[in-house]
Symmetry: C2
Subunit: 187 residues, 2 copies
């Protein structure tokens, strides 16, 4: 017997964040702060300490939100970045996000993407990646980010993808530590 479809359900509480996005001032710090608040809420809701958002570049237009749903969805691919990418692509019915807004789109991730997500971003059409906490911050609390090419940022540059590192890092790291303190599930 085969599966005829795979469905990933988004939690209802995300809707509040979709409604709140209009208060952002459009700076990358403010968008990252917003994304970190979603990660903190995801822990309270019983999920992992990671969140991601996709915004139209140079705009407060929120396109999608992703949270880590690995344990809830029973899918190891359900990292925040992957969920945000899928939600955005479905919104536009287009697998290439470089074609959906005049200015392009930017991905905010509360933590440096793992090996899988680092590989997924170039296929998505995203041209800007902004992250908060580092790979080291994640591994400090026991999360394995996997084997990435050492020069992944240069590889991104070759493909026209710009990386902005460690935006609001301390505040993103605090969410990881909070999760660890509360003995969140490691997966």
């Amino acid at each position: 017997m085969s599966n005829t479809s795979i469905t990933i359900k988004m939690p209802a509480w995300l809707e509040n964040f979709y409604q709140q996005a209009y208060v952002l001032d459009g700076s990358i710090e403010s968008k990252m702060d917003f994304t970190i608040k979603i990660a903190a809420q995801n822990i309270k809701e019983g999920g992992g300490p990671f969140a991601a958002t996709i915004f139209e570049k140079n705009s407060t237009n929120l396109i999608s939100i992703g949270i880590n749903l690995v344990t809830k969805s029973h899918l190891s691919i359900a990292h925040a970045e992957i969920i945000a990418i899928c939600a955005a692509q479905r919104k536009f019915s287009n697998h290439n996000l470089s074609k959906v807004c005049a200015e392009g789109v930017e991905l905010f991730s509360t933590t440096e993407p793992c090996a899988m997500c680092t590989g997924a971003i170039p296929w998505s059409g995203i041209k800007w990646l902004v992250y908060g906490a580092t790979k080291q911050d994640a591994s400090e609390i026991g999360f394995d980010e996997g084997a990435k090419p050492k020069n992944w940022i240069q590889e991104y540059e070759k493909r026209g993808i710009e990386v902005v590192r460690e935006v609001n890092r301390e505040s993103a790291r605090k969410v990881l530590l909070e999760y660890h303190k509360n003995k969140g599930i490691m997966y």
Copy 2:
């Protein structure tokens, strides 16, 4: 407005392959041959030239089939390996496939996995990867496999994942060339 769920629909024709799997003799060549036939059929059905399957190790027990659904699903992550992993994890309601069968599971991919799929496999609990055509064969017809760590096979070994390379490579490569000849969409 947010998406409340993301659904990936499997095509109905896959069911024939789920029914046919019992004829396999259990060798890795026979499982790869079966997987290559699915990739060939996916082209006929208007999809990309890639397929993947997950089998119980040392068994003819087919757990899941994945095909490339990038253009049909509007999702850049919908590579054959990702679809096969998701379908298998949903079958067992478990994001860790190392826990679902006594002998573990093995992933067959008609082509060497791209950077994203290479990053995704270690998170899935799969302990054996068998592939057919190489990264070079895919790039020969214009598919970009992305930046992977040079030593990815050793990195896999460190995690207890064994890689069997170039099984039925010529026959897997033929499917890629066929797709190219018929001017299949590049994505």
